[in-house]
């Protein structure tokens, strides 16, 4: 904290543990300049370009049937992928945080694995698994099951890239909380499920919401992995980010930025909720804020 108390002595004598006023100003200007240049300007550009030809064009662009079906598809994919990873995340955190067992560190590393894989490779692995020249491909085809270039493929790729989010948020939180609350409930005669619903879940609800928020933002915004498995069939397998790409490459900039603006609003909403959770419930979400 700076020591600008306003008293004469503080103004004349700088504390030995703070920088000169000039150094401070330079550092603030450099840091803010960097933020404006790399974060605020791109964000502003999205909204300015979307509204370049007026609100009517913006609304018209969003009313396009292909864009509407992209919005619906994005909601569908995230609506399936996020709950799946929610259940997985709670199960993984329960096993890892509440018990001591061999190979726990290794299991945690494996859960983090999707974060260190390029999104394109995350899509590629499913093409290699289910594609026409894979072992499974012809079998699936003979039964008429479509995974690639269809909704199941999009869901699989999205589940893969958002795999660690919920687990990562819950594991440190539940480790911090320990097992004494659960032990008390059990000793008072609660069943396992009762303990989970009435003791554990209320303890972790804000951390869980935090994880789901980040998981959902990534699920709706994922581009690389989804792009590989989508096949880009217009009106059928284009999610919102893919629709942005298609419209942009057709020089339909207003429409591209209109869809992009919706995604940017989602990102802003995510940041607002995330910050609110961090301020309000800092003790009830994981101490580590890294992702």
């Amino acid at each position: 904290m700076s020591l600008d108390t306003g008293s004469a002595s503080a103004a004349l004598v700088r504390a030995a543990t703070s920088e000169t006023r000039l150094a401070r100003s330079i550092l603030i200007v450099v840091a803010l300049g960097f933020v404006v240049l790399f974060l605020l300007l791109p964000l502003a550009t999205v909204f300015i370009e979307a509204l370049r030809k007026g609100p009517a064009e913006f609304v018209a662009a969003l009313g396009d049937p292909e864009t509407l079906s992209a919005i619906l598809l994005t909601l569908t994919v995230a609506g399936i992928a996020v709950p799946l990873n929610l259940v997985f995340g709670v199960a993984a955190a329960w096993a890892i945080a509440k018990f001591e067992f061999k190979g726990k560190a290794f299991l945690t590393t494996l859960i983090d694995l999707p974060f260190s894989v390029s999104p394109v490779i995350s899509g590629l692995v499913f093409v290699l698994l289910f594609g026409a020249n894979s072992a499974l491909g012809p079998i699936l085809q003979s039964y008429g099951i479509k995974i690639l270039f269809a909704v199941p493929g999009l869901v699989l790729a999205t589940v893969f890239v958002t795999f660690p989010f919920v687990a990562r948020e819950l594991i440190p939180l539940m480790q911090e909380q320990g097992t004494s609350d659960e032990e008390a409930a059990l000793s008072l005669g609660a069943t396992g499920w009762q303990t989970f619903w009435h003791v554990t879940l209320p303890n972790i609800k804000w951390g869980l919401l935090y994880g789901v928020l980040l998981c959902n933002a990534r699920a709706m915004g994922e581009f690389g992995a989804v792009s590989v498995v989508s096949g880009h069939i217009r009106g059928q397998t284009n999610t919102m980010p893919l629709q942005v790409e298609i419209l942009y490459n057709e020089y339909n900039f207003v429409a591209a930025f209109a869809v992009a603006a919706l995604l940017a609003l989602l990102a802003l909403l995510t940041l607002v909720l995330k910050t609110a959770l961090e301020l309000r419930y800092s003790d009830e979400i994981a101490a580590s804020r890294r992702h």
Binding site: T17, L43, A91, L110, L128, S134, S288
Partner: protein, 287 residues
């Protein structure tokens, strides 16, 4: 492995606990992990091992592949260096100083995590294109950013920005003021205190953030492809080359490039873990 005497401690998979649900929770976790992550990744490794050693080497050493990998790793490295320098300054300003709008700036640092990469890609391209706000300022100076490797660096700086800030910030908050006071009473000026006392303590966290930003940059696709220009041998990144090979139905080449990238990112992950272990041993804190 069963010992006859029950008094001796047997090898146990898990320590006894009154908490129920271990089998169910671990079962769900392992099933989901194997189905979603392990089988698909093993599939990639299986397919690349099926290529045979000589074909694998030949595909990897293809000049276009080597160029794409060099561009991906080179631009990601430069972007991570930029992020290391500015990220540490930004974290310092956020932790130590008070100024209007600080809360908002702090929250905005996470924007690259929340904003879809394709949206960032088209916004940055519009800004840095020759007729864009920033591009038109740079053009008279003869600097081209969009549709050159410099554009890739700009996109990767955006994508990697939160990693350094969010890794360094918590460590900075924990710095004991007394250390700085001790340095000052021993006659160090402020610059010496920062460069000789504070920055070395931040090194492990800084390196971790750098490595995370670098690893993310190497694999990044969505924000880069719009601004890169995607000229083979000049501004074509490795993930894009994978997609190009897939579209040509050249699965062997796509698999080979992906395996090399996967191998290199595992090495990165190992390095990050080593930095953290080293830092715990040396500084006793978790980077």
């Amino acid at each position: 492995m069963a010992f006859r005497s029950s008094s001796r401690r047997r090898w146990q998979f898990r320590q006894p606990s009154v908490i129920p649900g271990f089998g169910l929770a671990l079962g769900v976790t392992l099933t989901w992990l194997i189905l979603i992550v392990l089988i698909p990744i093993s599939g990639l490794i299986w397919r690349s091992s099926g290529l045979g050693w000589s074909q694998f080497i030949q595909l990897t050493l293809d000049p276009r592949t080597v160029n794409a990998l060099t561009i991906s790793f080179g631009t990601a490295f430069i972007a991570a260096v930029v992020n290391l320098v500015f990220g540490v300054v930004l974290a310092w300003v956020l932790v130590r100083y008070r100024f209007p709008g600080k809360r908002v700036i702090d929250a905005m640092v996470d924007l690259p995590f929340a904003l879809p990469t394709a949206v960032a890609g088209i916004a940055l391209t519009t800004l840095y294109a020759p007729n864009g706000w920033i591009g038109s300022l740079l053009e008279p100076l003869g600097i081209k950013v969009a549709f050159t490797p410099a554009g890739i660096v700009v996109a990767l700086v955006f994508v990697g920005l939160p990693f350094v800030v969010r890794t360094v910030q918590p460590i900075m908050e924990e710095i004991d003021k007394e250390v700085e006071e001790a340095a000052a009473t021993l006659g160090a000026n402020r610059f010496q205190t920062i460069s000789r006392v504070l920055l070395p303590g931040l090194l492990p966290a800084g390196l971790t953030g750098f490595a995370l930003a670098f690893a993310r940059g190497v694999g990044e696709y969505g924000s880069v492809i719009f601004i890169a220009g995607n000229l083979p041998y000049v501004s074509e990144i490795a993930p894009l080359l994978i997609i190009i090979r897939l579209e040509e139905f050249n699965y062997a080449a796509a698999t080979a490039i992906a395996s090399v990238m996967l191998l290199l990112s595992f090495i990165m992950l190992l390095v990050i873990n080593m930095i953290q272990a080293w830092s715990r041993g040396r500084y006793g804190n978790v980077a």
